[in-house]
């Protein structure tokens, strides 16, 4: 990398760097998966490594931005796959980015060498409260930056919801423990059973440390506030999953009703099926379309014979001798709503009540942060921590907050990304300077060995246990993962959107051979390029040959198939590898 702080494009042989907002914005548009990843993971980069069978390198690329690749490769909510170009309506299904991430973690050598770029010790001390993904990511980043970190964790084990929420059949604990151990080995201290606001005060920590980061997640379950919520046999989802993850086997009977439609509800339903319940129903207010989980997770739940009941609203839980017996519901209809997700809200239909029998009811309708239990000093808005706009700084001096405790219940990759970003903000405050920035790296390459036939390979689902094998043990991991051959085939599917195909207009003879072979409308006849200083510039297209001033590849439509490159008689198509990299401002 160039040693000088980068102000504009600088040519180093065939490598260029840029901080131009137009280049940064082009990266976001051209590599939709990376842009959708809250941690900005270099997805095409690590997929390409898997294709080259360099699993260790692939793992390292992941770990730079997301410190738990083996974990995330199993349970990530995959915002990247929703945006993957391969999933455009005319192009088939998204690349299995998440399974590939897992395959790098599974297939790397068992004694893989982890490389960390350590900064000199700063002499500053930072406390992190909560050893969930957000706290762990923040602790690791601050440690790398040279600060001495101590984590205060209220529970007896680390991992947060990874340990106490997500069940073992989705995330084996040895995988989690190894990756957490790799973080703690940086010299991070951790004190377990230190519950801030209970057996240790926030003030005492603030006094001893230069900065404190709160990453306490969301631990307060939402209440339904209906009659019967306190009957025996009624659990909240978090409490139920904690019991399961502690190895308890609650008596739940055959008929279990889950109320809620998110991650927690699905895990409760699958855990209930593993406890032997014969009839597990997930009841939701809206419809499957609005469930905040992906299609794969829906499939897995149904595969395990859990039934979905949509458009129902719980009215009351009816008991007999203090124990739950049935639930009364009302049917719902969908109505317009400006505030509800997807623009549709559920509305109860009058006089539509009906009941369903249940021996156990699990209420999993979300959870909220509980900052006031930590300290009354923290200013809140309801249960939400007040903080500076676009910053992690809370109302208390030296106190920052990140992850679910700041944003409300989200997902692991968002929590990790937030922990890391918060660490950078804390580092800025502690050192008085910014030490890292993003930059676009351009590397001219001759071509790619990607073949057009790769575009027609069908998505390969992850091998999983058969139905009956899932229930032999309550913790058997359901997904068994790709082997090297499958990972190679799936990796071939990635278009490598980090490659940018461009036409050198000065050499182009306007033969239109590229347009003729283009697989979709990705090559455009252009009258004018409306260049702006900011990223708002655009191509002005024309169909009239008399007005054409250039033939341009629309990189947001291009699937990097390379057929234009092959067919061009003038060799005027060139390929550049574009990557968003974190740049060390101090050199």
């Amino acid at each position: 990398m160039n040693n000088n702080p980068i102000k504009e494009k600088v040519r180093t042989n065939t490598i260029l760097y840029s901080k131009d907002p137009r280049d940064l914005s082009a990266i976001a548009k051209n590599i939709p998966c990376q842009n959708a990843c809250p941690a900005n993971t270099n997805i095409p980069g690590y997929i390409r490594c898997i294709y080259e069978k360099r699993y260790g390198r692939s793992y390292d690329l992941n770990r730079m931005y997301n410190v738990l690749p083996g974990v995330l490769g199993r349970i990530c909510s995959r915002p990247c796959e929703l945006m993957c170009r391969h999933g455009d309506s005319d192009l088939g299904e998204p690349v299995s980015i998440c399974y590939l991430k897992r395959s790098a973690a599974d297939l790397k050598s068992p004694m893989h060498r982890i490389k960390e770029n350590l900064y000199e010790s700063s002499g500053k001390k930072v406390a992190v409260i909560g050893a969930g993904p957000s706290g762990l990511a923040a602790a690791r980043e601050l440690s790398l930056l040279g600060h001495k970190v101590k984590i205060f964790e209220g529970n007896g084990k680390h991992g947060g919801m990874l340990m106490y929420g997500i069940p073992e059949f989705r995330l084996p604990r040895d995988i989690l423990n190894i990756e957490v151990e790799n973080i703690l080995r940086l010299g991070i201290d951790i004190e377990y059973n230190a519950k801030v606001g209970d057996n240790i005060t926030l003030d005492s920590i603030l006094k001893k440390f230069d900065s404190v980061i709160l990453t306490t997640g969301c631990s307060l379950p939402n209440q339904m506030r209906v009659e019967g919520e306190d009957l025996e046999g009624v659990y909240n989802g978090l409490e139920f999953m904690k019991m399961i993850n502690d190895g308890e086997k609650p008596e739940i009977g055959d008929k279990v009703i889950i109320i809620g439609d998110g991650f927690t509800a699905m895990d409760c339903a699958r855990a209930a099926a593993r406890l032997g319940a014969k009839d597990v129903k997930v009841n939701m207010r809206k419809t499957e379309e609005f469930m905040p989980i992906d299609e794969k997770e829906k499939f897995e739940v149904k595969y395990e014979k859990v039934k979905f009941y949509s458009l129902v609203d719980t009215q009351r839980i009816i008991g007999e001798n203090g124990k739950v017996k049935e639930i009364e519901f009302l049917r719902n209809r969908l109505i317009d709503s400006a505030t509800a997700s997807g623009g549709r809200a559920a509305e109860q239909i009058e006089n539509s009540e009906f009941t369903l029998e249940a021996e156990t009811v699990i209420i999993a309708i979300g959870q909220q942060p509980d900052p006031t239990s930590i300290s009354s000093k923290i200013k809140t808005d309801g249960n939400w921590i007040k903080h500076k706009k676009d910053s992690f700084q809370t109302s208390v001096k030296k106190l920052f907050a990140a992850g679910d405790c700041l944003t409300g219940a989200s997902n692991v990759i968002s929590a990790i990304a937030a922990g890391r970003k918060c660490a950078h903000e804390v580092d800025n405050v502690l050192t008085g300077k910014a030490r890292k920035d993003n930059v676009v790296r351009f590397e001219m390459i001759n071509s790619t060995d990607r073949q057009r036939s790769f575009d027609f390979i069908e998505k390969i689902e992850i091998p999983s246990l058969k139905f009956q094998d899932r229930f032999k043990s309550r913790i058997s991991e359901v997904e068994t993962g790709y082997d090297g051959n499958i990972a190679y085939e799936e990796a071939k599917r990635c278009y490598l959107c980090n490659l940018k195909y461009e036409i050198d207009v000065s050499r182009c003879i306007y033969c239109s051979a590229c347009i003729d072979v283009a697989p979709r409308d990705c090559i455009k006849m252009v009258e004018k390029i409306d260049l702006k200083k900011d990223p708002s510039g655009k191509l002005i297209e024309t169909q009239d040959w008399n007005k054409v001033t250039g033939i341009v590849i629309d990189t947001s439509r291009c699937i990097r198939c390379g057929v234009c490159y092959e067919v061009c008689p003038m060799d005027c198509i060139y390929v550049t590898k574009t990557e968003l990299i974190e740049y060390d401002l101090e050199g």
Binding site: E289, K305, F308, Y309, S310, R331, Q468
Partner: protein, 339 residues
């Protein structure tokens, strides 16, 4: 209605055709188009089983020939797939990149075979059918086959087995009683079914389930939980239907199991209606949503949707008998006896 109106019906089944007829009877000027993915004209789906087993020719399937549409000035677009609906702009996007404007729309897209989640890993080995094109190749395979396994999870599976027996095939039948569609079978019903099938020389496997399916050359072996090994030239899976609504998802038109409509068959968008197997209707008397899978219901709903589209306010009455609950949704099956 003015000549500028373009009524489009997606679906060339009984719901779509009845809707088109009513629209034309009441509006001589409007443009009316029916779009269907299938290339075969309107036909009886319940006769497909006899066509597959070689007992009737293709002509006997047809309800209405192409010329009849022409006579009524109804444009029939066959072999065209509606990929997306933009209800705000009132545009349909077809798979072959054509866009069509409509003024009013009836969705009558019926259903497709359901595949049980537990069988998806064997999907490549299973044969399912619900359309004429599904059956054309299948007819030849059945002709050559000696041994056939039917994975029976719906009412069609019983009549299909009988049709195969009449065509002198050796048939094995595996009952999926806990996933049976659309009704829950009682133990008395199961006993009766078993007796009946045995009397037709069908090898029955009840209270058993598929553990593994292996393929060697062109022969399949099904290994069951009770350690039975059943050999077969073809495995036919009949597990009921699910409404064809995938292409609607993301369009802002409300869906659940089917397209959500009120008792007037109106969707959440003015000028868009749904009828037939793809519609899910709320009924205040049942206090529930219901989906009607059946020819006669589809015909009735097609007519009512068309009348309401033209300005009427007709309510679809729920069937009074033979309603079964399937995953929280009432399903009407009274029509099966009428065929």
């Amino acid at each position: 209605m003015s000549a500028k109106d373009h009524f489009i019906i997606i679906g060339n089944g009984p719901a779509g055709n009845n809707a088109a007829e009513v629209l034309r009877e009441n509006d001589k000027k409007a443009r009316i188009s029916i779009i269907s993915t299938e290339s075969f004209s309107f036909y009886y789906r319940h006769r497909l089983k006899d066509f597959i087993s070689g007992r009737i020719p293709a002509e006997d399937l047809v309800v209405k020939h192409y010329s009849e549409y022409k006579d009524k000035n109804i444009r029939l677009r066959l072999g065209q797939f509606v990929e997306k609906i933009d209800p705000e702009k009132k545009i349909l996007y077809l798979k072959h990149m054509e866009k069509i404007n409509y003024t009013k729309l009836i969705i009558a897209t019926g259903g497709s075979p359901r595949i049980l989640p537990s069988l998806t890993i064997f999907q490549d080995y299973l044969t399912m059918f619900s359309t004429y094109s599904d059956t054309v190749g299948l007819r030849h395979r059945i002709e050559k086959a000696k041994e056939i396994v039917v994975l029976g999870g719906d009412l069609t599976s019983f009549s299909f087995v009988k049709s195969l027996v009449k065509a002198c095939k050796k048939v094995s039948f595996l009952l999926f009683n806990d996933a049976f569609w659309p009704i829950s079978l009682t133990s008395e019903m199961i006993l009766k079914i078993e007796e009946n099938l045995k009397s037709h020389n069908v090898a029955t496997f009840f209270n058993d389930s598929v553990e593994m399916i292996k393929k060697s050359k062109s022969k399949y072996t099904i290994e069951t939980k009770q350690n039975n090994k059943i050999k077969s030239d073809i495995i036919i899976s009949l597990m009921g239907m699910i409404p064809n609504i995938r292409f609607i998802l993301g369009s802002s038109i409300d869906t659940d199991r089917g397209v959500l409509v009120d008792a007037y068959l109106r969707t959440n968008f003015k000028d868009i209606y749904a009828a037939g197997d793809c519609a899910q209707i709320y009924n205040p008397i049942l206090k529930n949503y219901w989906v009607s899978i059946g020819w006669m219901n589809a015909e009735e709903q097609g007519k009512i949707a068309a009348l309401n589209l033209l300005g009427d306010s007709k309510i679809i009455e729920p069937p009074k008998e033979e309603i079964f609950e399937y995953e929280g949704i009432k399903v009407n099956t009274s029509w099966w006896k009428k065929f």
